[in-house]
Symmetry: C2
Subunit: 365 residues, 2 copies
C-alpha cells in the first residue's frame, strides 16, 4: 500500500460549522406554527394553498431537511428493512437483493444488508436490529433449522419473510421455489436422455435447497429404479465454492464405475464438475452430463453452455419485499406461501447417455 499526495481534509473545520435548521425555524421564517409546517411536509391535513406556498419557500430558503431519526422516533418506525444472507458475493443473492431494492426503495424504504457468513450470530444481529427499531422488518435468505433458537420466539412479533431457503415450520410468509421438484425433474430429464447412473452434488449446509433437492433426487431414483448408492451423493463446502466442487467430484470421476450424469445444487458447482471432467479427459456432454441450478450469467460464458434450472431470483426478491411491506403495514394476505416457477434451461452440458448418440444430439442443438 502506498500513500499518495498530501491533502489535508478540511473536513474537521467545515463540519463544525454546519448549522442545523429545525422545523421551528422554518415555522418562524414562514410565519406559521410548527404543526402547519409538518402538515405541509407530510402532505396531510388541510393547508391553505398560499400558506403552503409560504412554507415551501421557507424550506427552500433555509435549505431545511427533515431530521429522520426524530421523525422515526415519533412515528415509531425506521423506514429501513434488513436483508440477511450468507454472503452477497454470490450473484444469486445479489440478484435477489436487486429485486428487493426495486420494490422497497420506491415505497420509501432503505435496505440494510448483513452477511451472516453462515454462522449463528445472524439471529442475534437480526433480532437486535428489529428490537432496536433500526429496521422495520427482515428478509432472511438462508433460514435453516439452526435458526429456530432465536427465530421461533419472535415469529409474529416482528415482520419477517423467508425467501429462497426456508424452514417450513416457521410460520412466516415464504417466497420460494419447490426445490424438491427441481431435484426430481433433474433426474427425470436425465433419465429421458438414457442415463441410469446419476450422481448428486450437494453442499455441507442445511439449506432447504440443498436438502430438498436431495430428497427430490432420491425419490426420483426410487421411482425410476435407478442405481442407488451412497457413493453417488457428494458434497461441496457450505459456500458452494468452485474448489470444493472440484475436490468433491474428483474421486467420483476417477473411481471405478463413475456416473454418466450429475445434478449439482449450484451453477458454480456444476462448472467445477465440467472443469474437473475436462481435466481428466472426460468429454462433456458426450461422456458425462452436468445439470446445474441458478442460471448465473457465467453459465453461458464458455462452452459447453451449462444446462441449468433458472430460478426467478429478481422476481423472488420483489415478491419478498412486497410481502414484507404488507406485514409492516399490517395488511398481510391470506396466502403467505408463494411458490415461484422455475424452468430448466437445456443447453450444452447435457446429452444422451452413450457417446455416439450424444454426439449426434449435441450437433443437432
Amino acid at each position: 500500500m502506498k500513500l499518495g499526495l498530501c491533502k489535508i481534509s478540511m473536513f474537521c473545520l467545515a463540519r463544525g460549522l454546519v448549522i442545523v435548521v429545525t422545523i421551528s425555524e422554518v415555522a418562524k421564517e414562514a410565519g406559521v406554527s410548527v404543526a402547519t409546517v409538518s402538515r405541509v411536509l407530510n402532505h396531510c391535513g388541510k393547508v391553505r394553498p398560499e400558506t403552503e406556498q409560504k412554507v415551501k419557500e421557507a424550506v427552500v430558503k433555509l435549505q431545511y431537511t427533515i431530521n429522520m431519526p426524530a421523525r422515526n422516533l415519533r412515528k415509531n418506525e425506521s423506514g429501513a428493512i434488513l436483508v440477511l444472507a450468507r454472503n452477497f458475493t454470490n450473484p444469486f443473492y445479489a440478484k435477489i437483493l436487486e429485486g428487493i431494492s426495486d420494490e422497497a426503495n420506491p415505497a420509501g424504504y432503505n435496505i440494510l444488508v448483513s452477511a451472516s457468513d453462515g454462522n449463528p450470530k445472524m439471529g442475534f444481529q437480526c433480532i437486535q436490529m428489529l428490537e432496536g427499531r433500526q429496521v422495520d422488518g427482515a428478509i432472511l435468505l438462508n433460514c435453516t433449522e439452526d435458526d429456530a433458537v432465536w427465530l421461533k420466539p419472535h415469529i409474529g412479533k416482528y415482520p419477517i419473510v423467508q425467501c429462497c431457503d426456508f424452514v417450513a415450520a416457521f410460520d412466516t410468509p415464504k417466497v420460494i421455489v419447490d426445490h424438491f421438484r427441481t431435484g426430481y425433474e433433474a433426474v427425470q430429464y436425465l433419465v429421458s436422455l438414457g442415463h441410469r447412473r446419476i450422481a448428486f452434488m450437494g453442499a455441507e449446509n442445511k439449506h432447504s435447497c440443498t436438502v430438498q433437492r436431495l430428497e427430490g433426487y432420491k425419490k426420483a431414483i426410487k421411482d425410476f429404479e435407478l442405481d442407488e448408492e451412497d457413493a453417488l451423493y457428494i458434497s461441496a463446502d457450505a459456500n458452494y465454492t468452485f474448489e470444493s466442487g472440484c475436490r468433491a467430484v474428483y474421486p467420483m470421476l476417477t473411481g471405478k464405475n463413475p456416473p454418466t450424469a450429475i445434478f449439482c445444487v449450484s451453477d458454480v458447482l456444476a462448472l467445477s464438475c465440467i472443469f474437473e471432467a475436462k481435466e481428466l479427459g472426460i468429454r462433456v456432454p458426450e461422456e458425462f452430463s452436468v445439470v446445474g441450478c441458478d442460471d448465473v450469467e457465467y453459465a453461458r460464458m464458455c462452452h459447453p453452455f451449462l444446462s441449468t434450472f433458472r430460478l426467478p431470483c429478481y422476481e423472488m426478491g420483489r415478491e419478498s419485499a412486497r410481502q414484507l411491506l404488507r406485514c409492516i403495514h399490517r395488511t398481510p394476505e391470506e396466502y403467505v406461501e408463494i411458490i415461484e416457477d422455475f424452468s430448466l434451461q437445456v443447453r450444452e452440458s447435457t446429452g444422451m447417455a452413450g457417446k455416439d448418440v450424444a454426439l449426434a444430439v449435441s450437433e443437432r442443438t
Copy 2:
C-alpha cells in the same frame, strides 16, 4: 406464480400486543434514576458495581432494548453508512462491500446499500440520506465527473469517501489503484511477449478505471512506438456486460488486420473476447492474447485461465470504511489518498506473438 397452502399470518394480532419497555421503567425496576441506567448501558461514567448489577438484572427481567432512533436523535448520529454503487451483481463490488462490512460492523455501524444503476438520481439519494441524518457518511464506488453537480457543494460538509472509481478533483479521501499504470503495464507486458498490434476494450462510461486505463494504454503505445489506430479502441456498454463485449470485439476480429492481443477493463469483457475468438476459430493464446482486470473467481473456472490484474477489492473496502470512520469521528489523517497495489496474474490467456513460440510457452507454463 403459484400460491401455496393457506396460512393466515397471526402477525396483525401479535404485533399490537408488544409492550414497549423504556429506560425509565428499567430505572424504576432497579430503583435508580434514568441517568444511571443510561450510564450502565453506555459503559460510561462511574457506577458502583452493585448498582450496575441491579440495573443489568432489571434489563434482563424486563427484556429491555435500547430504542435506537431515540438514541440517534439525541446523539445526532445514525450508526449507519451508505454504500453507493452502480450495482452489486458485479462480484467486484460485492467483494468491496464485504470489506466495508468487515470493518464497519465491528465498529458498530450498519451498512445501507443503494444501487444507482449509473443514473444521476444517485446524487440526490446520497445527499438526501446524509442530510436526513439517516447515515453518518457515504462510500462512493462509481464517482464520475457527472457527479460534480451534487457532490462539489457538499464536500467537506459530510463524510464521503471515494473508492475504486474516483474523480481526482473532488477533495475527499480516496482509496484507489493507479489505473493508468494498469493500462501501461498491460501493454508493456504484451510487448514483452512480442505483440505490436494491441487493442483496448473500454466501456461506455466515464469511470476513472476505464478512462485512465485508456490513457495508460495510449501512453504505452506511444512509448513503445506500436501501431496506433482508432480502430484498436473499442467499447462495451456501461455495465461491462458479456454480450456487449462479444458484440464489440466481433468486427475487430473479423476485420482485416486484426490485433494479436487485447487488454480489457474488466474480466467479464476479457472472457467475452476469449469466447468470441474461440467461436471464430481463433486460438487463445496462440493467435490472440487477452488480458483482463479484476481477477474475479470465474477467471479460473475454464481454460484458458485468464491473465488478469488482481485488485485488492476486499482490502480497498476495508480501507475505505476505515477512512470514512476517521472522517465521521473527526480524526482524518493527513494523507487521504491511499493507493493500493495491484498485481498481474499471468495465466493462460496470454502468450508470445507468433504461433509456434506461443505454443512452446503455453506448454512450459
